[in-house]
């Protein structure tokens, strides 16, 4: 499948996130991390610096041991135990301290990294919960999941090598100071190595940064394709499109491979150069040093010291490169995460409340001159006005795509109308406090969504509900039978999106979820389409009974006559507006199009001839 990028603002945003990454951007992300976790950062840095300093101290201990143990022993032909103990104590002491440094550095870096990851994940998911549905509709699931997971991880990836790099810098400072004290000329030659290494590193970063950024983008695309393709596994299987899907995935995987191989080739060239520079530096220092010893300008011991220091520092110096190497990934991840965090769109809430829940009985719903359309598209609903009196049951009947589901989205305030308003008990939905509407209104959607939780969790959604009430709701929804048959009953886990249940079973759990809250306005959006007629009949009977008890208001989207028969009033929708209203019988008598719609099966059964003139299906 091809994606038309010009139609998708999010892909444009993705490209924006992939704009060039400078080193300063990388440091800026690090700065944010440090400001948020200064304590752990201090511990990790202390560990890194301790490690660095003690690595250099090894050279000093070796010198001390040579001076005070080795040379006197060889000269005198004997050695005191005290000196030997001191040598061991010094070496082991330095090593122990260094081990402490390693633990502090690594554990500190780990704690810092994981804390930052956790904090960002919490913030991102809070955003997901706070952002309006319209925002969600514009963002692919795969992208949002990777924002909260892979991107957060990428953003804080440089935290791991950070303390080591800081320790290396400390080590370099100490080594340079020691070299300078030993011999200025040799030190000056040796020091040339540092800017050379850093310079080569910078060129390397510049060359690979775009490739690494591209690779990260491709990784996200590979993941999105896999997500969608596995989601549609059934269709892929039934139409035998495995090969095409594999090709769609494989093409991206190959592109990712090519990008990584290109980046690898650059690394292959730079790595040996970076490794060789300090080595060559040591050789130059030796040549200079030997001639200086010859001319009496310096001592042989100083040549050893400078050469040793350069060797010791040459390996960890590359950890600076590893830190810088994480920058592009980090900055891109950080930008992608902030693309979510910086969103400010909110569904605005008022502070109005509905009459206390002790006031049972049905809620009143007023729909006034409602209009709604998706962005620039043609209107889905126009000039829609009707009232549902408390305790009454109204059926919304209309052809496929006549705007019924859109209306249920509006009643539950998943979206706000472009024009007109909706009132529950006389209060505009937009004036209600957050959470207030849900105390009175429950909706059962066409497609049920279940949480990766137990049956009980899915029905109560965490509310404190007695088991018998849960069972009662399940009974009304005709779900008590199969739930009781599950191994753990109410405590049976349903798995991600309830995949262990059939479509009809999922619908019935979703129905029980709505019923258990004893809503004052219950909206059923073709909520029993996957349930067979007999079971549906029992559900409807149960609902009717429950309704008589509570006097709840009921708004049902339905095709089946048995469902419609529940209604005191029927609204016939066509092309986003009400074209007829009245009782089922009245509409049957007065509206030919209504009668064609609901009596389709009858006419089908009654005659084999072309009974009804087909009318157009319009949106």
């Amino acid at each position: 499948m091809t994606t038309d990028e010009s139609l998708d603002p999010e892909l444009a945003a993705g490209r924006d996130a992939a704009r060039t990454v400078s080193m300063r951007d990388g440091f800026r992300v690090l700065g944010v991390g440090i400001r948020r976790q200064p304590g752990v950062f201090a511990i990790a840095t202390f560990g890194g610096v301790l490690f660095g300093a003690l690595t250099v101290a090894d050279a000093w201990v070796l010198g001390w041991a040579t001076q005070n143990a080795l040379i006197p022993a060889m000269r005198d032909g004997e050695i005191g135990t005290g000196v030997l103990v001191a040598v061991v104590a010094l070496f082991v002491g330095v090593a122990l301290l260094r081990a402490v440094g390693i633990v502090a550095r690594r554990l500190g870096a780990g704690i810092m990294q994981y804390r930052l990851q956790a904090a960002y994940r919490r913030e991102v998911t809070r955003q997901y919960l706070a952002l309006p549905m319209s925002w969600h509709a514009r963002h692919p699931t795969g992208q949002l999941l990777s924002n909260a997971n892979a991107d957060v991880e990428a953003a804080w990836s440089p935290i791991a090598p950070l303390p080591m790099a800081l320790g290396t810098i400390a080590m370099m400072v100490i080594a340079i100071a020691q070299m300078l004290t030993a011999d200025l000329v040799m030190a000056a030659v040796g020091l040339l190595v540092f800017p050379a290494v850093i310079g080569v590193n910078l060129v390397y970063q510049r060359l690979t940064s775009p490739l690494i950024t591209r690779a990260q983008q491709l990784r996200a695309e590979v993941s999105e394709i896999a997500h969608e393709s596995f989601d549609g596994a059934l269709v892929v299987k039934t139409l035998g499109r495995e090969a095409e899907e594999t090709e769609r995935f494989g093409a991206r995987a190959r592109e990712l491979r090519d990008t990584l191989v290109r980046a690898g080739r650059i690394r292959a060239a730079f790595d040996p150069a970076l490794a060789a520079l300090p080595n060559l530096g040591v050789m130059v220092v030796l040549v200079v040093g030997v001639s200086r010893v010859l001319s009496g300008a310096t001592q042989p011991g100083d040549v050893v010291t400078v050469a040793y220091l350069l060797t010791v520092v040459s390996f960890p110096i590359r950890s600076l490169g590893w830190l810088l190497g994480e920058f592009p990934r980090s900055v891109v991840g950080y930008r992608r995460v902030h693309h979510v965090l910086d969103e400010t769109a909110r569904m605005p809430y008022g502070d109005a409340t509905l009459a206390t829940s002790s006031a049972r009985g049905g809620a009143r719903l007023d729909v006034e001159r409602l209009a709604f359309s998706h962005a620039t598209d043609q209107p889905l609903l126009r000039d829609l006005t009707f009232t549902v009196e408390p305790g009454r049951t109204v059926a919304l009947v209309g052809a496929t795509a006549s705007g019924k589901s859109t209306l249920t989205d509006l009643v539950t305030r998943l979206v706000d109308p472009d024009d007109g308003r909706l009132l529950v008990d006389g209060v505009d939905l937009r004036d209600l406090d957050h959470g207030e509407l849900s105390t009175a209104v429950s909706v059962v959607p066409q497609t049920a969504f279940l949480f990766d939780d137990t049956v009980r969790g899915n029905v109560t959604l965490g509310a404190d509900v007695a088991d018998e009430d849960v069972w009662a709701a399940l009974r009304t929804a005709q779900a008590d039978g199969f739930v009781a048959a599950l191994p753990d009953g109410l405590d049976a886990r349903l798995g991600e999106r309830g995949t262990s249940l059939s479509g009809g079973q999922r619908q019935r759990i979703a129905l029980a979820r709505a019923l258990v809250r004893r809503p004052r306005l219950l909206v059923l959006d073709d909520a029993t389409s996957a349930v067979d007629p007999e079971v549906e009949g029992r559900i409807l009977a149960g609902l009717r009974e429950a309704e008589d008890g509570d006097g709840a208001t009921l708004l049902v989207v339905a095709y089946r006559k048995a469902t419609i028969a529940l209604a005191d009033e029927v609204l016939h929708l066509e092309g986003g507006r009400v074209v007829g209203r009245g009782t089922h019988a009245e509409l049957l008598a007065t509206s030919p199009s209504y009668s064609r719609l609901v009596n389709a099966y009858d006419s089908e059964s009654d005659s084999d001839s072309e009974a009804a003139e087909p009318t157009g299906v319009t949106r």
């Binding site: 122990l96 999941l145 596994a233 495995e242 690898g264 795509a401 539950t412 067979d532």
Partner: protein
């Protein structure tokens, strides 16, 4: 048959590597050359330190005073070695990248394909996130290790070996001391690796839980809002995030401690070399200069050992990832495709035969028992029965989404298991109740039924099914985008797209499983009539709870509790009564309300 996917956790490290190479044969390509280059580049890396030591011993400490000419000669030699090493290292790294990444791309693609080849049941028991991560982040982990740690590990091991040889040339006793100092580290390595492996296993599971929790506010955004359960959802997410953080920190603690052991061993080795060295020197076995030179070479040993142990730690993660990818490939795709060797079904209406077919889900009672029937080519069959009676299982067996536990399903006399899948999928099409839509346009989604179909052909198909008005009524016609999983369309519209898909696929056997359940009655009836015309010269099986379908079918099959209890034309069955009579009565009762 197992419904669970192989976690691959039974495989040890070496078994994993072996299986890994089997699945990505590219990894073996030119391996000898790459290893030779690796040897050359590691060997070269020791030249410089040896040159330094030589210069210190024979240049700086030459008997006749410092020898500049020797130093320069040695320096030039070392420079030449560095250059050679560099070239070898470049070649080795590029080769490793090429074969490594190619091998992993193959593995990734193979695993992806295998997920599609897995039985429906296995696909459904795994969370989508877990499946996706096996072909994405798990492979990435292997890739990152291979190109970062892998090379360094080869080089480190080489350096340790070369350093040992050089040390032994100076003094075998001191070499022993160094190895003894590192013995505790080497011996405890296995223990730490095991603990680490277990700790990372926990991290991995927590990642899965966390991903599932994170997906709830995204996939279930509407439910969370309509029930205003934001706080509860956030609590669940926070808990999952906290557990993941805890597990990761714990694993990091292990690596920190195991890594610090390397630092300790280095100190012990230095102390040992000096103390034992002095004793040896006193005995006249070694000179002071040699001891110093030895101490110098020890650093060549310590560095790579520390690097190597760290890499082994990272390797645990990579191996674990690799193991999981291989786990997919090791999960049997029990619907084996005979491929080219299989029979290609001839075009034209298909005769269907169920030969004593029984099916049960693993560990469950039979869902279908001993179904034995023949359906003549060109028959329009309706299957009816209560929820859970086995109707959908019948459809899935018929389209080979599952294989029967006993008996056989035969099309035109050929056992389905012997039919080339490609031929099967082009002749037999199932339209499920919830047809999945890709995040693309309506046109592209319909075209999924026949790749390469033109817009005109799609419109023609829509006309045939009486859906042209619907298509024209779409905001942008066929170019209308359907959104994630088709959520910009209503459930009924998604079914229309699925039907059009099937129409384009032009099958000889069409199986409709509640394919129009969300469509309004008038449209459903109209589609039904259109299908009647289109189904001439095709065999069709329709599962529907709206019994009008049964009334219009040639034959009706009544399924109850996994058994076929009645079969025949609607009128005959109605006269018979029985299960069908009851079903029909309840349907009529529903319709009678007016």
């Amino acid at each position: 048959m197992s419904t669970r996917m192989d976690s691959g956790e039974a495989n040890g490290m070496w078994a994993t590597l072996r299986r890994g190479v089997v699945h990505s044969p590219e990894l073996k390509q030119g391996i000898v050359g790459t290893l030779l280059l690796a040897l050359l580049s590691t060997g070269g890396q020791v030249v410089v330190p040896i040159a330094i030591q030589q210069t210190l011993d024979n240049g700086l400490g030459a008997p006749g005073g410092p020898d500049v000419a020797f130093t320069i000669r040695t320096g030039l030699l070392a420079a030449a070695a560095v250059l050679l090493t560099g070239v070898a290292s470049y070649l080795m790294t590029t080769r490793l990248f090429r074969t490594g990444e190619t091998g992993l791309a193959t593995l990734r693609t193979k695993a992806f394909r295998h997920v599609h080849d897995l039985p429906l049941l296995t696909q459904n028991t795994e969370s989508r996130g877990a499946l996706v991560s096996r072909v994405t982040s798990d492979v990435d982990q292997v890739s990152q290790f291979l190109v970062f740690g892998g090379i360094l590990f080869v080089v480190s091991v080489g350096q340790v070996l070369v350093a040992t040889i050089v040390m032994a040339v100076y003094s075998w006793q001191l070499t022993l001391v160094v190895w003894l100092a590192f013995a505790p580290l080497f011996l405890s390595l296995r223990y730490f690796q095991q603990r680490l492996s277990a700790a990372y296993g926990v991290v991995r599971r927590q990642v899965g839980t966390m991903l599932s929790a994170i997906s709830e506010p995204v996939v279930g955004a509407a439910v969370v809002r309509t029930y205003a359960v934001e706080d509860r959802t956030q609590q669940r997410i926070d808990e999952a995030i906290r557990r993941h953080q805890q597990a990761s920190t714990r694993a990091q603690g292990f690596t920190a401690v195991s890594f610090s052991l390397g630092g300790l061993s280095g100190g012990l080795a230095n102390a040992g070399v000096l103390v034992v060295g002095i004793q040896l020197g006193l005995a006249g076995d070694i000179t002071a200069g040699e001891i110093l030179a030895f101490a110098f070479i020890v650093t060549l040993f310590v560095g790579p050992v520390q690097m190597g142990t760290q890499i082994l730690t990272d390797a645990q993660l990579a191996i674990a990832g690799w193991r999981r990818v291989i786990g997919i490939l090791d999960t049997p795709a029990d619907l084996v495709d005979p491929g080219e060797k299989g029979v290609t079904l001839p075009r034209g209406p298909i005769e269907v035969r169920f030969d004593h077919v029984t099916f049960a889900y693993p560990g469950g009672p039979p869902v279908l028992r001993d179904v034995d029937l023949v359906l003549a080519a060109g028959t329009r069959l309706a299957v009816v029965g209560e929820t859970g009676s086995g109707k959908s299982t019948f459809a899935k067996l018929l389209t080979r989404l599952m294989d029967p536990a006993e008996g056989a399903v035969l099309l035109d006399g050929v056992d389905l298991r012997g039919v080339d899948q490609r031929s099967l999928r082009s002749s037999v099409v199932l339209v499920p109740q919830e047809g999945f839509l890709f995040d693309d346009t309506v046109g592209a989604n319909i075209r999924y039924g026949r790749l390469g179909a033109t817009d005109a052909e799609i419109v023609e198909a829509a006309e045939e099914l009486g859906l042209d008005d619907w298509v024209h009524g779409l905001p942008r016609g066929l170019a209308t985008r359907v959104g994630q999983r088709g959520e910009a369309l209503s459930a009924g519209e998604r079914q229309l797209v699925s039907l059009l898909r099937a129409r384009l696929a032009d099958p000889d056997l069409l199986v409709l499983d509640e394919a129009t359940s969300a469509v309004d009655p008038e449209l459903e009836v109209r589609i039904g009539r259109a299908l009647e015309r289109l189904l001439v010269d095709r065999t069709s099986v329709t599962i529907a709870h709206r019994l009008t379908t049964a009334e219009n079918a040639d034959e009706v099959l009544v399924v109850d509790a996994g058994r076929v209890v009645q079969r025949g034309p609607h009128a005959d069955l109605l006269a018979e009564g029985g299960t069908y009579g009851a079903l029909h009565a309840s349907w009529v009762a529903q319709q009678a309300v007016s």
